[in-house]
């Protein structure tokens, strides 16, 4: 493979005393069954004391593997094929790359000099030990503390990561912590040995926006206090703009561009970086000319409620109940895109399922006027009526992998609704499937393939083609772009908007991602704890929110511009 020459804009500085870790020309291969994947190619960067380097890239770009290579925790079929990882200490520097797997130096570095925070705190914390005992262990191992001192230090660490009541929480188990608290505990553990370097691998991807903002604040504060060097891995350009000092953009195993954060955002040179930024920034605006709602709404939801549990138990005692959706009312007009945003647990997904009646509402009414003739009360529909309703109101799923049956060909998947409804069979069905695939931008000749032959974005297109098969009136998209990379996300949203231009469709777009909703929707309903706290046009909600909760939500969204960091002036919401 030929190594492309890097164009130097400025001469390289002399060895910097601030540099704690230097990666030089690191290459890493994975041996797969039929091929060798060059996951990391010729990657060089440095980590400096008190500075944050963000490694940005889409899935499969090799960013996580690079970070794991620093600690030598790569999978068995992977091997470092070249380059050096120089860790500079007080006296000497160690090259991590050639160390043997179980060598004492390596064990001392892992968790001792380099701390690591994972994406998914639930699976990286032990479920059978208390949070405290896991941190105490790290302290005793790396800092040789006795039990009492370690416990005191653990409480201090938990206090530093802003866990309330650290004296009590130290003896709690992982599952007793909320998602954000778990990530805090994970950070406390990574900091236990007082490392010089902190590697955070997508530390906030599994968290809600407001929690993400708090965790980023915390990481940044601790880093500055302790003067650590930090390597933050993320796919979110917003997060990069908020916390990075320097940025390295990875694409298919190579760093295609790196430099100070301001240069990357305002003077991007590599086409890929520009594309990445363009698809991020694009979602910051709404180009839709919102049509004035005319005529009667297609769908009217009135006072919808859903209570989980709460039925009297076997022995007459009332059990614990959750109001997942509480008193929700809205109208959806023809050709309108309604966004429903909220954090996890806000009831937005349940609301979508209630409208489809895959979950039965406890009370309330859903009036559908899309079909011919009389408006239909959806909550009173029988089996047959519901089947007809499901032909008009379709769902696009979040997970493009789980929502397509892996054992059916694309033709069978997309054609299934046509076949079941008896709309077309045989050659007519094949023709219609071909049309649908072309409509969503896929090659009609690929209809004999199985879903595993397609990428995530392509699979989501297949899912959309299936939803469109029966000429629906309303599409409910439940986090339809959440599992996709940012550039693909923009493509899928554009596809949906394009479809809407050609077909008389209304969308209910459920998402936790405010920028996506802003780009796509005319009106937005903000949900919090089962209630709609605010409703208005997308522009109003995003620029001039009224409700306190919406204000805190909007202000927590990272802004992909390092010159206008949004997190510095966040409003916080306590309820």
């Amino acid at each position: 493979m030929s190594v492309q020459s890097a164009v130097e804009l400025k001469p390289v500085a002399a060895p910097d005393p601030q540099v704690v870790l230097a990666v030089e020309n690191l290459s890493l291969d994975f041996r797969l069954r039929t091929e060798i994947l060059h996951a990391v190619r010729d990657v060089s960067f440095t980590l400096k004391r008190g500075q944050t380097l963000c490694l940005v890239g889409e899935s499969g770009s090799g960013k996580s593997v690079t970070a794991r290579a620093l600690l030598r925790i790569i999978d068995k079929n992977g091997a470092i094929t070249g380059g050096r990882i120089l860790l500079r200490g007080k006296h000497a520097e160690i090259d991590i790359a050639p160390l043997t797997e179980r060598s004492r130096e390596l064990l001392r570095i892992r968790g001792g000099r380099i701390g690591l925070v994972f994406q998914e705190p639930m699976s990286s914390l032990s479920p059978v030990h208390t949070i405290g005992s896991q941190i105490v262990e790290a302290l005793r191992l790396h800092r040789r503390m006795d039990k009492a001192a370690a416990r005191a230090e653990t409480i201090e660490l938990l206090r530093q990561v802003e866990i309330p009541n650290p004296e009590k929480m130290i003896d709690r188990y992982t599952f007793e912590f909320s998602g954000g608290q778990r990530q805090r505990a994970m950070i406390a553990m990574a900091l236990a040995a007082d490392p010089e370097i902190l590697i955070a691998d997508e530390p906030t991807t599994a968290l809600d926006v407001t929690t993400q903002a708090e965790i980023l604040d915390l990481i940044k504060r601790l880093q500055v206090e302790r003067g650590m060097a930090m390597l933050l891995i993320t796919h979110d350009m917003g997060v990069v703009a908020e916390v990075a000092d320097e940025v390295a953009v990875m694409h298919f195993g190579r760093i295609v561009e790196q430099g100070p954060v301001d240069d990357i955002f305002h003077d991007a040179r590599h086409p890929y970086t520009r594309r990445l930024l363009a698809s991020t920034v694009k979602l910051e605006q709404n180009r839709r000319a919102a049509p004035a709602p005319t005529g009667e709404p297609v769908l009217s939801v009135r006072n919808l409620n859903k209570v989980f549990g709460g039925t009297p138990g076997w022995f007459g005692s009332a059990t614990f109940a959750i109001k997942a959706v509480e008193d929700v009312s809205f109208d959806l007009h023809a050709g309108e895109n309604l966004g429903i945003v909220g954090e996890s647990g806000s009831g937005k997904t349940t609301l979508g399922r209630l409208i489809l009646r895959t979950v039965e509402p406890t009370s309330g009414s859903i009036l559908y006027r899309g079909g011919e003739g009389e408006p239909v009360e959806v909550t009173a529909l029988g089996k047959r009526g519901l089947r007809a309703y499901h032909r008009d109101v379709r769902l696009v799923f979040q997970d493009p992998f789980a929502s397509l049956n892996p054992r059916m060909t694309v033709k069978q998947i997309v054609g299934d609704p046509l076949y079941v409804s008896g709309a077309s069979r045989g050659a007519a069905l094949e023709k219609r499937v071909g049309e649908l695939l072309e409509f969503v931008g896929l090659d009609p000749l690929s209809m004999e393939r199985y879903p595993h032959a397609f990428s995530g974005g392509q699979r989501q297109r297949i899912g959309i083609a299936r939803a469109l098969a029966l000429d629906p009136k309303v599409l409910i998209a439940d986090e339809a772009t959440a599992a996709l990379d940012v550039s693909i996300r923009a493509q899928i949203l554009d596809l949906l908007l394009d479809i809407q231009k050609r077909l008389p469709l209304s969308f209910i777009f459920i998402s936790h991602d405010i920028s996506v909703v802003r780009y796509f929707c005319d009106r937005v309903a903000v949900m919090h704890r089962g209630r709609v706290v605010e409703m208005g046009t997308a522009e109003e909600i995003c620029t001039a929110p009224k409700a306190a909760y919406t204000q805190s939500l909007i202000s927590a969204v990272p802004n992909p511009d390092p010159r206008h960091k949004r997190m510095l002036h966040r409003t916080r919401f306590r309820a």
Binding site: M1, Q4, A6, V7, E8, L9, K10, P11, V12, A13, R31, L32, T34, E35, I36, H38, R41, T46, G60, E246, H251, F252, G253, R254, I255, V256, E257, Q258, G259, P260, D267, R269, H270, P271, Y272, T273, L356, H390, L395, F397, Q398, D399, A402, S403, N405, P406, R407, M408, T409, D416, P417, V420, S421, S446, E448, R449, Y450, H452, A453, R466
Partner: protein
């Protein structure tokens, strides 16, 4: 501040890979169905593939038992009781001192112990019994239909005897009996599993798909059945078979008894899979597409299960074989003239036989072990390959 550097080239369109094998397989994998993928994964497990071939060989032996066996299983020759196995040799030296190719076995001389009057056989090197392939032998009907006298191997002269694995205490050829027993033992597992499969898949699907009280009732039934001690129950049921019944009737009743307890594990497995798949997005999608319950079960859920079910069935077969062997060994299963591995092992129940004629234990027991191990390896391999979309 660090320098701003970048690679001055167009972005690449795909990950960098070096192919290990030169083959244009990508296209075929894209259009490969689940069975192709399963087969490709299965092929990588060499032990399972070998086990699969052994199983196929055992079934072929069972199917063509009459042809493969040198003799009939029930021909007793009292003059050759407990004769030791003979070995095949290929060259004979005649009176002129010339060596020529002639496959043969050596005959026996018998000596009678004057004190105990026990007869023992010793292989007599002077006596040569020429043998060959595709020889005329005792008449039989293949599958009870086609009359024939052709045997794969046997002595050239039908009046001669050849006991490659020795004889039992009535002077019957162990090899012929073992081959015929393969048919019975391997098929009893198969028939038993088919019955288990029907019960298990039906009840398991119902239980997993509907959940609620249906699930509750079926699961409690399964628990009650699997909590019963099997051996005493088998004993009781088998003892209730009337003596007057024909061996064929007994055979079917025994399979029924064995499979009556085999289905519970299968039902649980199917139920668990159903339970997991019921909540999958693609099932919800199919439901929203308007599929009825029957279509959901048969078109969307069961195809995802067939490979798992096959694997479970393969793992259930050996338990059936062992169960039959155990029943027959205890003398309450199949009875003469039907021969199964268990019936053969009955002959090896006392120490005297094992001391005097160890082949009566070694060969039938070896057959059971080989079959059971092969089924287990095959089943394990199939289970690992059953879900080609994971990992």
């Amino acid at each position: 501040m660090a320098a701003h550097t970048f690679i001055d080239a167009a972005p690449e369109t795909g990950p960098a890979v070096t192919p290990l094998k030169t083959s244009g397989k990508a296209q075929s994998i894209a259009a490969a169905g689940q069975w192709t993928l399963i087969w490709q994964r299965f092929k990588r497990n060499k032990v399972a593939v070998v086990a699969g071939w052994i199983i196929i060989a055992l079934y072929l032996i069972g199917i063509f038992a009459e042809f493969l066996a040198p003799g009939l299983p029930d021909t007793a020759r009292p003059q050759f009781t407990n004769a030791p196995p003979q070995s095949i040799a290929f060259f004979v030296t005649d009176e002129n001192g010339q060596t020529r190719f002639q496959p043969h076995v050596k005959g026996y001389t018998q000596s009678v112990d004057p004190a105990s009057l026990r007869r023992t056989f010793v292989v007599d090197d002077t006596q040569v019994v020429p043998i060959g392939f595709f020889v005329e032998g005792p008449a039989y009907r293949l599958w009870g239909l086609i009359p024939s006298t052709l045997h794969l191997v046997g002595p050239l002269d039908p009046t001669d005897t050849m006991y490659l694995l020795g004889t039992d205490r009535l002077g019957r050829d162990l090899l012929s009996r073992l081959i015929h027993a393969t048919r019975i033992s391997m098929s009893i597992g198969l028939v038993g599993v088919v019955i288990s499969l029907c019960l298990g898949v039906t009840l398991g699907s119902l239980s997993g798909f509907y959940g609620g009280w249906v699930d509750l009732v079926i699961q409690r039934i399964i628990e009650v059945i699997s909590s019963m001690p099997t051996i005493p129950l088998w004993l009781g049921l088998a003892a209730a078979i009337p003596i007057t019944w024909s061996p064929l009737q007994v055979y079917f009743v025994i399979t029924l008894i064995v499979s009556l307890f085999g289905w519970t594990g299968l039902a649980r497995e199917v139920r668990g899979r159903f339970y997991a798949l019921r909540g999958e997005d693609f099932v919800t999608a199919a439901r929203l597409d308007g599929s009825g319950e029957r279509r959901l079960i048969f078109r969307h859920i069961l195809p995802s299960l067939t490979s798992h079910i096959l694997a479970v069935v393969t793992l259930a077969l050996p338990t059936m074989i062992v169960a039959e062997t155990a029943l027959s060994f205890l003398g309450i299963g199949l009875k003469a003239p039907v021969v199964s591995w268990g019936v053969l092992l009955q002959d090896a129940q006392n120490v005297r036989t094992i001391a005097g004629a160890p082949w009566l234990l070694i060969w039938p027991a070896g057959a059971v072990v080989l079959a059971v191990l092969s089924f287990n390896f095959l089943g394990d391999g199939m289970r690992d390959a059953a879900d080609p979309y994971e990992g």
